[in-house]
């Protein structure tokens, strides 16, 4: 019995390595194989990042945040402010927007980009600790609505804050150099964030920390009664998620060049909902679910946006309803139930 198990285990490991190699090759080659789709491919990696980050609290811990887009928007603004502040006075720069011409040297641009991405991540991680300290007292739908409120309020506040451009938004310099090179650079920045987060989570979910996350989801009261530092785990997890969403927002800021607060930065009904749909579609609380969901969702969205113009929101709404009502386990949940041997899961009955 145990011998059969071992020999069944080997090919799974080999197949898994082969799968990872193929995916890495595909990731590296994609922007050159499909040069016309570089921006869409970059957007796909953005979806993977925000979906993986959302699942950390939503899927693994049972805290469904509807406000993660707060970190995306805040990351954009933090990156913009850092980049501008390196070369100009931010208030002057934003009030001159449109009229004044502000040139950035290559050094200023790339320094701003590097500091902006890291700074946005760190700033958002700290925000998550502060907001989480208050909102993690809320459970279930109250947490979802509470965090959504934070994102909506932030959008409104920023649109009235003239120093960062108010409702007009803010502009960053264009990528210095060839336009197509710029697209490739942004593709790889998003891809790097996605892979870094995936690798981090792949490890994290095997640690005691990962087990504690699931304990909070399965029975938080029991976890408290056993002395787990539940708040600590919730804050740490959300903070890591916020770091990556904030960094992704920063990359978006440079990619989009111009963005404004309500439609782009704090876009609660677009990205804020899309990231949740990705996770539900792919499978909550699984490592691969958010990735698979992001790919399926992104393809669905690109196809409907291009071929069903006028009806794209209806199609999207239908997808959400079907997922939530009929397919809650998602693709990975379905596969794990139907094909446990693919995942090296030993069916319980065997152990009896």
């Amino acid at each position: 019995m145990s011998g059969a198990r071992k020999s069944a285990g080997m090919p799974i490991e080999a197949r898994r390595i082969a799968l990872y190699l193929v995916l890495i090759a595909l990731m590296l080659a994609a922007p050159f194989l499909f040069p016309g789709f570089r921006t869409q491919l970059a957007a796909l990696w953005l979806m993977i990042v925000v979906a993986l980050a959302w699942d950390m609290t939503g899927g693994q811990m049972g805290y469904n945040s509807l406000g993660n887009v707060f970190f995306y928007g805040t990351g954009m603004y933090v990156a913009a402010v850092i980049t501008i502040a390196l070369a100009y006075d931010v208030g002057e720069y934003t009030s001159a927007a449109g009229g004044g011409i502000h040139a950035f040297t290559d050094a200023q641009y790339f320094a701003g980009m590097a500091l902006g991405i890291i700074g946005a991540g760190v700033f958002c991680a700290v925000c998550a600790l502060l907001i989480g300290y208050i909102t993690f007292g809320l459970r279930g739908p109250y947490f979802a609505i509470g965090t959504l409120g934070v994102a909506i309020a932030a959008g409104e506040l920023v649109s009235n804050w003239e120093w960062v451009g108010g409702g007009q938004g803010i502009s960053l310099p264009v990528y210095p150099g060839d336009l197509e090179t710029g697209k490739v650079v942004f593709y790889f920045l998003f891809a790097a964030a996605g892979i870094a987060l995936f690798v981090l989570l792949r490890w994290l979910y095997t640690t005691r920390f990962g087990a504690a996350m699931n304990a909070v989801r399965d029975d938080e009261e029991k976890a408290e009664a056993m002395g787990l530092h539940t708040l600590r785990y919730k804050l740490a997890a959300w903070s890591i998620a916020a770091f990556f969403v904030g960094a992704a927002g920063a990359i978006s800021a440079f990619q989009l060049i111009h963005f404004e607060p309500l439609e782009t930065a704090y876009q609660t009904i677009n990205l804020g909902i899309f990231m949740v749909v990705c996770v539900l579609l792919g499978g909550k609380g699984t490592l691969w679910g958010p990735v698979v969901g992001a790919v399926l969702f992104h393809v669905f969205k690109e196809v409907t946006w291009n071929y069903l113009l006028g009806w794209q929101w209806v199609a999207l709404g239908a997808l959400i309803v079907v997922t939530v009502v009929y397919f809650q386990e998602g693709v990975m949940g379905y596969l794990m139930r139907r094909k446990p041997e693919w995942f090296g899961i030993r069916v319980g009955r065997e152990a009896e």
């Binding site: 095997t206 640690t207 399965d218 408290e224 009664a225 002395g227 530092h229 785990y233 319980g348 152990a351």
Partner: protein, 247 residues
């Protein structure tokens, strides 16, 4: 013997219902103390008060000489005072081994240490304790798929994994197959004797608690009815009346 839990003048009410009225008890370190009383007499409420599940209206609760009546649940658990639930709580979606590993004593764990995998020694301890309660064969089953009695045993093993100094057990034998009760009683005694864990046990089954406890407290309608050695309590007229009257 010294006192490990000291309860003095504890009162707790829910709206108009006074669930605990001016209760005072002492749980001796290293022993087994029983808490009995008819259904609804306030036993679970007292346990909830001790472990910080809800604030008390009046009185004092000390654990190892330290006032704990204002501490939250997690802090009290990390001091080494744990409870199991009458309605049994385990992590249903995880298997038994995972349930055990998540129950490691978190009072010793720093955040940095949580970013490591479980050590071989921890896995061995988990397996050993599952063996101890007779669940080793079921260790890879989803905990939620176990019978109610097996879930109770798992919850007990999880508590032991946490290395508590004091353990409050809320009706550990309720719902357990009668043929298995003797085995469980034996394990409870061994946990007390071999692991040195002080036990405070709510028990409905008179025979079981008389056999285990050194001291027994009996509640009725939220008030202390009698206390003393098992034999004294067993023969106390008021206790007999309360039990007969309750049925």
């Amino acid at each position: 013997m010294s006192a490990i839990i000291e309860i003095r003048g504890v009162t707790k009410s829910f709206g108009g219902v006074v669930a605990n009225k001016n209760l005072s008890m002492t749980v001796e370190a290293g022993g087994i103390t029983g808490l009995i009383g008819p259904n609804g007499s306030g036993k679970t409420t007292l346990f909830n008060s001790i472990v910080g599940y809800h604030p008390i209206d009046a009185g004092s609760i000390k654990f190892e000489g330290r006032e704990i009546s204002k501490l939250p649940v997690q802090k009290i658990a990390r001091l080494g005072l744990l409870r199991t639930f009458q309605q049994t709580r385990i992590y249903g979606a995880m298997n038994c081994v995972e349930n055990m590993l998540i129950s490691l004593p978190h009072r010793k764990m720093r955040l940095a240490q949580s970013f490591a995998r479980n050590s071989a020694a921890e896995r061995k301890r988990a397996a050993g304790l599952l063996e101890f309660v007779g669940l080793y064969e079921k260790r890879l089953l989803r905990a939620g798929s176990l019978s109610f009695g097996q879930q109770k045993l798992l919850e007990f093993a999880m508590a032991l994994m946490n290395e508590p100094t004091g353990l409050l057990l809320d009706e550990p034998t309720a719902g357990i197959n009668p043929t298995l009760i003797n085995g469980l009683v034996d394990r409870l005694k061994r946990a007390n004797r071999e692991f040195g864990i002080t036990l405070f046990i709510i028990e409905h089954n008179m025979r079981v608690i008389m056999d285990m406890a050194d001291t027994i407290y009996c509640l009725a309608h939220g008030e202390m009815l009698a206390h003393g050695a098992p034999r004294e309590v067993q023969n106390d007229r008021r206790v007999i009346d309360a039990y007969l009257g309750a049925h």
